[in-house]
């Protein structure tokens, strides 16, 4: 969570302009890794806009998350090419393997957070996953296991 001063500083860097909610939230998430509830409240108060509206922005865009995540973020592409090449099955398989219950996206040991992503536009390498910013293509169960071992 950022302190009120830090949030103030971010808001000031956007000229205190209430139009820039999306970009202010992007900056908070860049620093914290997610959007803590307290910080959303601060943004609403400091910009003098209703919290519901700030919350609206935070839930509208895919990039934002409201809960902390694990040490490594594993993103599965759910673009068309990845879908027809079976990334949905890999996704289900990995969730089962990691013991994630419906509604959960992070493992109990906080090692991995699993996310679905729209499309990385690497369709020719389908199915594709991304771990902490590194892209891996032509995934199979075996390759997935091998890749995840590299992220402790």
């Amino acid at each position: 969570m950022l302190s009120e001063d830090e949030v103030k500083e971010i808001i000031a860097s956007f000229g205190g302009d209430r139009r820039y909610v999306m970009r202010i939230l992007q900056e908070i998430q860049r620093r914290v890794g997610y959007l803590p509830k307290e910080n959303l409240k601060m943004v609403a108060e400091l910009l003098d806009v209703p919290l519901a509206k700030v919350y609206g922005v935070a839930t509208f865009f895919h990039q934002f998350r409201l809960r902390p995540h694990g040490r490594h973020i594993v993103q599965f592409c759910f673009g068309t090419a990845c879908y027809v090449k079976g990334n949905d099955k890999l996704w289900e398989w990995l969730r089962r393997k990691l013991g994630l219950k419906p509604g959960e996206d992070t493992t109990a040991d906080l090692r991995f957070t699993l996310q679905k992503v729209r499309c990385f536009g690497c369709c020719s390498m389908a199915p594709v996953i991304k771990v902490d910013g590194d892209i891996y293509g032509n995934m199979t169960k075996e390759k997935l296991e091998e890749v995840l071992r590299r992220y402790a």
């Binding site: 999306m22 934002f64 027809v84 369709c123």
Partner: protein, 574 residues
């Protein structure tokens, strides 16, 4: 079998050698490695590093350059070794481990150690010669304009782009009056490449004639269609062609400020564009009194936090304005009219065009009107970049004349479906598009034709679907996509699509009835007619087209409780 390069392909090679000093920078060789987001999935950045190390270790007098991708995704990673005499060696499937052998082979004068480029019918290489890239059949039907310097030019060097002829289009345009520029765009019959295919020249004219003390320009680089990556590829491989087109457009319509709207999911694309903008500013192509004319214009990159609907122009404008306060927290589309051309960003006249549209404009002014209209159909001229993915042998990005057939695209360029699979359908235009069966693959690809078949050109994503995929499940996939992406402001889209999805779920779970098929059609047509924006208007397309062309498969699901592809787990496969 090798083909012969065409005149315009020779011209690119000629331009390259005319720009020798810049391209080689005094070295004996130029070695390029294609690096973009997708090739990095295959370790292109590691190949680049290895080439740099090996070149240094061996003391080879070569300039190692990072370039973008040439669209041949299936053969990544690609390395090219070019000398002063016109030998241009293309290496495919290079891994970091193979770099050493590749260099051994090249510098010992043999083609051994070259990783053969396999195409239908065996190896493309004879023992002695390494082919020109244009001799590869994948290039056969292509006419590369937007992509012509891709994989050749260093995207981070404005000097290289200029040396190849870049920014000559801007210089040419600035010698004309804005009205003359617009007249050329109108006569080029260029249509928007972002989906709807609106005539670009006409849009420019509307913005030019709209009243307003300030005018804005937006480059739509949202590229939210799953299956489309041509905008990303272009921006990563040759960002300057986009910037050049934007500046020409700004001059023509009288805009003083431009924005590029890019997704945060595509960070490399955003970064390349931002760097290109800086370089253009340093060269005086952006800023005050551009090329000493009475013309000020600058561009800013805006990172979107990602929402499909923000690709729609009015929603995008809301997002750039920071609509949180103005429009209730979300960036939802607004009814048109007023069109952005009249009242757009901050209620000022605003030009919105797609990445590829701007790049086509740059080419138009570089090559001239005659050249531009030399390919295409009666109603739309020029080329379109398509992305080939899914069940196809040669995946990648290709640029072909508008009016080419799907057969040429998928079977001649793309090599058809992989061995052991059978072609079932082709999906064009993403979640707003449709699925076409084999019977239609000989129709010319243009805006009207596709529309009459129930599909759309869209951004140009082409996904080939084989017999292992269930067509009902594919339609359901797209519907699920649009249901989650609906902004929720208008009822047909918010409730109607959800209802369609429930029916589709029932069908794939083996609980569907024949009435469900009729219900789907009725609902789909109502949603298409009554939704506020293009998302809802087109979202039923995947279901409606599959119902139209693959009804049998739906009927099998509801009557016989059977899924012939074996994808719908709760149904039997035979």
């Amino acid at each position: 079998m090798l083909r012969s390069p065409t005149t315009s392909e020779y011209e690119v090679i000629e331009r390259f050698y005319r720009a020798k000093d810049v391209m080689f920078g005094g070295h004996d060789y130029r070695i390029t490695v294609g690096v973009s987001t997708c090739s990095m999935a295959k370790g292109a950045h590691l190949v680049l590093k290895k080439v740099e190390e090996e070149v240094a270790r061996r003391g080879i007098n070569a300039r190692v350059v990072r370039v973008g991708c040439n669209g041949m995704c299936f053969s990544e990673n690609m390395v090219e070794i070019i000398d002063h005499e016109g030998s241009w060696a293309v290496y495919a499937y290079v891994t970091p481990e193979r770099v050493s052998r590749m260099l051994d082979g090249y510098f010992s004068g043999s083609s051994r150690g070259v990783f053969a480029f396999r195409v239908k019918g065996g190896s493309l290489m004879d023992e002695e010669r390494v082919p020109y890239i244009y001799e590869i059949p994948f290039y056969g039907k292509q006419v590369r304009r937007v992509l012509r310097f891709m994989g050749i030019v260093n995207p981070l060097s404005i000097e290289e782009y200029e040396a190849l002829g870049g920014y000559s289009g801007l210089k040419r345009a600035l010698r004309l009056t804005p009205d003359e520029v617009i007249d050329i765009v109108i006569r080029s019959k260029l249509r928007g490449r972002g989906g709807a295919g609106f005539p670009t020249g006409l849009k420019w004219k509307l913005v030019r004639e709209a009243k307003g003390d300030v005018k804005y320009l937006i480059c739509n680089a949202d590229e939210g269609d799953p299956g489309a990556f041509m905008n990303r590829l272009t921006a990563e491989g040759n960002p300057h062609i986009i910037i050049e087109g934007m500046i020409i457009a700004a001059y023509a319509v009288g805009a003083s400020k431009g924005f590029v709207f890019v997704r945060a999911e595509k960070p490399l694309m955003a970064d390349m564009l931002a760097r290109a903008i800086e370089q253009a500013r340093d060269k005086g192509y952006l800023g005050r009194e551009i090329l000493r004319r009475d013309f000020d214009f600058d561009i800013e990159v805006i990172l979107s936090a990602g929402a499909f609907v923000c690709g729609e122009e009015t929603a995008m404008i809301a997002a750039i304005e920071g609509a949180a306060t103005a429009r209730g927290g979300r960036c939802s589309p607004t009814p048109r009219p007023p069109y952005p051309a009249e009242k757009g960003l901050f209620y000022k006249p605003t030009l919105v065009n797609n990445v590829e549209t701007y790049a086509q404009v740059a080419y138009l002014f570089q090559a001239g009107l005659e050249d531009f209209i030399s390919v295409g159909t009666e109603n739309s001229k020029g080329t379109k970049v398509f992305c080939l993915a899914g069940s196809i042998r040669y995946t990648g990005a290709v640029e072909v004349p508008i009016g080419i057939t799907l057969r040429e695209l998928i079977f001649e360029i793309g090599g058809g479906v992989p061995k052991g699979r059978r072609f079932k359908a082709v999906q064009i235009g993403g979640p707003s598009g449709g699925c076409l069966p084999k019977a239609y693959i000989d129709y010319p690809l243009d805006y009207e034709q596709l529309k009459s078949l129930g599909a759309i050109m869209g951004s140009g994503g082409i996904i080939v679907i084989d017999d292992k995929s269930c067509i009902v499940d594919v339609a359901r996939y797209f519907l699920k996509f649009t249901v989650t992406e609906s902004c929720g402001q208008c009822t047909p889209c918010r409730i109607g699509l959800r209802h369609m999805l429930e029916i589709m779920n029932r069908i794939t779970e083996g609980k569907g009835t024949e009435e469900d098929l009729i219900r789907l059609e009725r609902l789909g047509n109502v949603i298409a007619k009554t939704s506020l924006c293009g998302l809802g208007k087109t979202a039923p397309n995947p279901v409606l087209t599959t119902l139209r062309y693959f009804r049998e498969e739906y009927e099998e699901h509801v009557k016989q409780r059977k899924c012939r592809a074996g994808k719908c787990m709760k149904l039997r496969a035979r």
